[in-house]
Amino acid sequence: MLVNTRDFNLAPDADDLLRRCTRDAPQGELKPELTQSMIEINTSVHTHYPALLAELRATRDVLAGHARKMNVALAGGGTHPFQKWSDRKIYPTERFLAVSEKYGFLAKQFTVFGQHVHIGCATADDAIYLSHALVRYLPHFIALAASSPFYQGVDTAFDSSRLSIVNAFPLSGTMPLVRSWTEFNRYYDRMLGLGIIASMKDFYWDIRPKPEYGTVEIRVCDTPLTVDRAAQIAAFAQALARCLWEERTIDITPDLYLAHSHNRFQACRHGFAGTLIDATTGRARPLADDLRETLRLLAPHAQMLGSQDAFAALTETIDQGNDATWLRRAFAETGTLPDVVRHQADLWAASE
């Protein structure tokens, strides 16, 4: 998110920032987003966590440098704590204007910020398998990345309020229980034929296959407060996908989705303190415990992939609290939401 340095409200400077970055473009890609205070940072394709982290840090430094010259700042976080959605300006591209026309006030309310992780898949059927199997772990991603406790000037009592805004879209939720790429295509063609969708982009699912990239895209994460956390979450996704793909520990059954809404809500509302229900075993346990165990089980995969540092940092996060905890602490210390955003911006731009 782009904020001004006067009252730390959102600043509609995406266009200018992107224009300036064309002269010393970092690796990957920078794009406009739905409203003019948002930019999308795409990294290039990575197989190793350290390289991803280095690229993200370099991109951050370029962006922060330009932002300082423009007298604006960038910050992480899933929502801006106090912006008024009705003040937002739609970025004037054909697609975004069409989205605005189609969704009315939801478009401006969608000035929320998320991290999407793409995982490359060998085959289309693998992508379908992973899209289902990863659902079991969506609450873990939500809790790890949660950074939107404040929205429209109030503490929502949620760790991630952002996903409640995504829920308002008619095609949000999860992919239907299709078991193969052929089955998925049948479903897709029907939706297309009925005129409900025009492309894959119209599905606002928590996780979806992305055929043009050959990936599965995890979309539930709030944008973390730092690029380091963003890279750690990507490393977690990579190790998890490797494990699921190799070991096929998750059976794709309706049970997988039975408790999903409950678990997802628990993660959004309570973060690590939420409760997870396993519909297969009927067991309920704290999310933090399940996440710790997951990290332990994935440790060999993390080692193979060179992501031990990321896993160590994530384990520490479970003990010390996620970004939502950090933001609430900042508010308790400073007393005003503009001060919280100021701290957020300082944290995002801080070089290691």
């Binding site: 400077d13 200018d16 002269r23 423009m70 004037p92 400073t334 007393g335």
Partner: protein, 404 residues
């Protein structure tokens, strides 16, 4: 037979309340009419209303009524200039090395252009031409801030515009102050302690602004960061600083700009909230512009209008050339440079007390100066707000339908 003593005197004399109320209502009507055009900003409506009601046309607003309302204008300017000072983020100039050179070049080039026009084309005396050109450097802070608020404008051009306005007002005020000893020498034939006068005005105004800031932060530490007490604190400190500057015969403009700039740059503990003056301030702004309009006379558009018009044009060209030339190294797009130059058009040098010290020491010189620049200012009172409004909308930063 005499009238009973419980009845009011006849004809009834207007008091300050009645004048203020009627100014507001008349301004409101003018602003509303301007809004219906979809092109004119509300300010143009306020100014036109004042012009019509003032001594120049209908004469419903008498000279004494104007004098009674002067306090309103001073208070409004205090608020506006303080707000402008808050936009003067000095750390920005540290990060963007071209920001300050661009501001200085814009001021310098427009000064040279205006001076050359008055001196060599208009044949005006060197000192008068220099002072008039110095007045012309400044962009009207009230106009740009009000148009910005009206359009809810925000973005790179708006941010730069307000920074330039703050800077060019400081440059113009200091420049005029430095010329005072020369004016005095010519008026009185002697230059007793000329440096002391300039020092008193500049250093005194800076000091007053700084002291007000220190008091403000001390009180803020005690009050905490609640919005309502901080709002009252800001208004209280601003009004008191305006009063103190008047008593001490310092520059109200400079003292309030310094106060605003200090709150932005020196409040290291972040004790002050960026208070929004909002609707409360709007009351005074309407009155300010109706009053400004009332100072205009139809004949100002006549006699020396060609020189006034040329003055306006070379001023704009001077600013535009500086901004265009430095745009590339400063990473400013040509489109942004153009809209920025246009947005800096409004000028209200005489109305904001900048030239008051000249009247204090040499009233005749002040009157001559007024005659030179007044037609330029009169033209810009009408065109300036329109230019700023158009520029911010063109830059894609103002919402034409934002006004409420």
């Amino acid at each position: 037979m005499t009238a009973p003593d419980f009845l009011p005197a006849w004809p009834p004399a207007a008091n300050s309340f009645l004048i203020f109320g009627l100014l507001l209502l008349a301004g409101l009507a003018g602003g509303r009419l301007a809004a219906t055009t979809r092109v004119l900003p509300a300010i143009t409506g306020y100014i036109a209303t004042g012009f019509l009601l003032g001594p120049g046309v209908l004469g419903w607003l008498s000279e004494s009524a104007l004098a009674q309302s002067r306090v309103l204008a001073e208070f409004s300017l205090g608020l506006i200039v303080f707000d402008l000072g808050r936009r003067l983020d000095l750390s920005w100039a540290r990060h963007d090395r071209w920001l300050l050179p661009m501001g200085l070049a814009e001021s310098a080039l427009s000064f040279i252009a205006m001076f050359a026009l008055l001196r060599f084309v208009g044949g005006i005396d060197m000192l008068e031409a220099a002072v008039a050109a110095m007045v012309g450097i400044a962009t009207a802070p009230a106009v740009v801030l009000l148009v910005t608020n009206e359009l809810k404008a925000e973005g790179p051009v708006t941010r730069r515009m307000l920074w330039h306005v703050a800077l060019n007002n400081i440059i113009a005020t200091i420049g005029i102050t430095l010329m005072l000893p020369f004016i005095e020498a010519r008026a009185w034939g002697a230059t007793w302690n000329p440096i002391a006068r300039a020092l008193w005005l500049i250093a005194g105004s800076f000091l007053l602004g700084y002291i007000a800031f220190v008091l403000m932060t001390l009180l803020a530490r005690w009050l905490g960061k609640s919005p309502v007490p901080q709002f009252l604190l800001a208004v209280g400190v601003i009004v008191a600083t305006v009063g103190a500057a008047q008593i001490a015969r310092l520059s109200v403009l400079l003292a309030l700009l310094v106060l605003g700039a200090c709150t932005r740059n020196l409040d290291r503990q972040h004790r002050l909230i960026d208070v929004e003056f909002g609707r409360a301030a709007q009351l005074f702004f309407v009155a300010l512009f109706v009053l400004t309009g009332a100072t205009l006379r139809p004949d100002q558009f006549g006699a020396v209008a060609w020189l006034g018009l040329a003055f306006v044009i070379v001023r704009l060209v001077g600013k535009a050339i500086a901004l265009y030339v430095l745009a590339w190294p400063a990473h400013v797009s040509m489109r942004q440079a153009g809209t920025l130059a246009l947005a800096l058009t409004p000028m209200a040098g005489l109305a904001i007390g900048m030239t008051q010290p000249i009247y204090d020491i040499a009233p005749e010189f002040g009157a001559e100066l007024a005659a030179i620049v007044v037609s330029g200012i009169a033209i810009l009172h009408l065109l300036g707000p329109i230019a700023t409004r158009y520029a911010l909308i063109r830059a894609g930063e103002g919402e034409p339908r934002a006004r409420d």
